[in-house]
Symmetry: C2
Subunit: 214 residues, 2 copies
Amino acid sequence: MVSVDCIIFGFDQNKLKVLIGRRQMDPGRGEWSLYGGFVGADESVNDAAARTLYELTGMRHVYMQQVGTFGDVNRDPGERVISVAYYALINVGDYDERLMHEYGAEWVDVSFIPLLYSDHNTMVQKAIEIMRQKIRTKPIGFRLLPPLFTLTQLQHLHEAVQGGEIDKRNFRKRIKEMGYIEKTELVDKTHSRRGAALYRFNKKAYNEDPNFKL
Amino acid sequence: MVSVDCIIFGFDQNKLKVLIGRRQMDPGRGEWSLYGGFVGADESVNDAAARTLYELTGMRHVYMQQVGTFGDVNRDPGERVISVAYYALINVGDYDERLMHEYGAEWVDVSFIPLLYSDHNTMVQKAIEIMRQKIRTKPIGFRLLPPLFTLTQLQHLHEAVQGGEIDKRNFRKRIKEMGYIEKTELVDKTHSRRGAALYRFNKKAYNEDPNFKL
DNA sequence: CCAAAAGTGTTCCGTCTACACCCATGG
DNA sequence: CCATGGGTGTAGACGGAACACTTTTGG
């Protein structure tokens, strides 16, 4: 038996969060748990992860990466299951609240993760580590933000992921060097009187000269 | 069905090499292939990888790390198999030549890897990438060398892994800053008339102050 | 007019890079 | 005595970190 488990990251209230829920089956019914599912006979493991995420969130074409495979004999209290963990990055704004309530899913701050079923805490820790490394050198953070975002939002995101404050001027200097983070004419006035310029990540431009460093 | 496949790295003739062999079963009999095996019902996936490596090389307690899980439905021409790839770092001097011949194993330069069975080329490429990243910041390179080694050997190892030359003086300067790479009184005279000091990696000292950067 | 967030450059320091010559020895 | 690989320091360039004030505008 092979399963997949999803560590779904979101960014909300300037905090990095993970989506967890109460386990709906025995053993471990009612415990906090990641969302997972079994790999079907006719789907790839990657597809199984994408499908599991889709069933929970209704979202497709989400950025997902393998975290690792967890294969201890007794990791699952029930039968023997080998599980492949994936992390996913989603924009919380795209996530249908209805579905969220239907499954009883909840966002929890990565700094305060409760005890989870089986070895799920290990999976989450490893996912955070891997994602934290990757976000420094690959433009994946944008997946956690709306298509248009302010530099302050982007900075808060990186602060939340890395833990620790970032100097605003140094941060913006680095952004400016990355031509594919494009300033738009639009202004966001929801967070300040003055308003902040909205930026956009230009994937095409990035691919022509893929350097990212924050 | 879950299997493991091993990307076994060795360092020989100043080249980074991988151990491959001719596949002994159908389908694909006779093709170049990584060494692998199935995961038993009563062993963890990690243990299965260690066992597979042991069966081939007779070596235990070898450094092994997961590379990733390969789960496409049709990746294996025979039945459906999900495979977890691991890389291993061994000192070629510890490897029993008899066993090597028994299995028909061969070391091939990572720059000239032939076409391998199934998706094994992908696995090897990914393993190289991951290992290359890791060796820059974690003291894993020593696993590819004898317990006592010269700085020239260590430098050639890093050159082989990273591809490209390294300045000798800068390299040695960095080594000096890492107190846990200890000079011994012993001298290796097999590679030069003058003789080169032999060094040793002190794991205990490293753990007390684990910084590594090359 | 003031609170609250947005926006903007320069200096300093530490790190990395480039670079060339003497040493010890066996044959 | 010479060929071969072992061993050593310095100066300049570059990149990262520290740091404070002005701008805009809704209420």
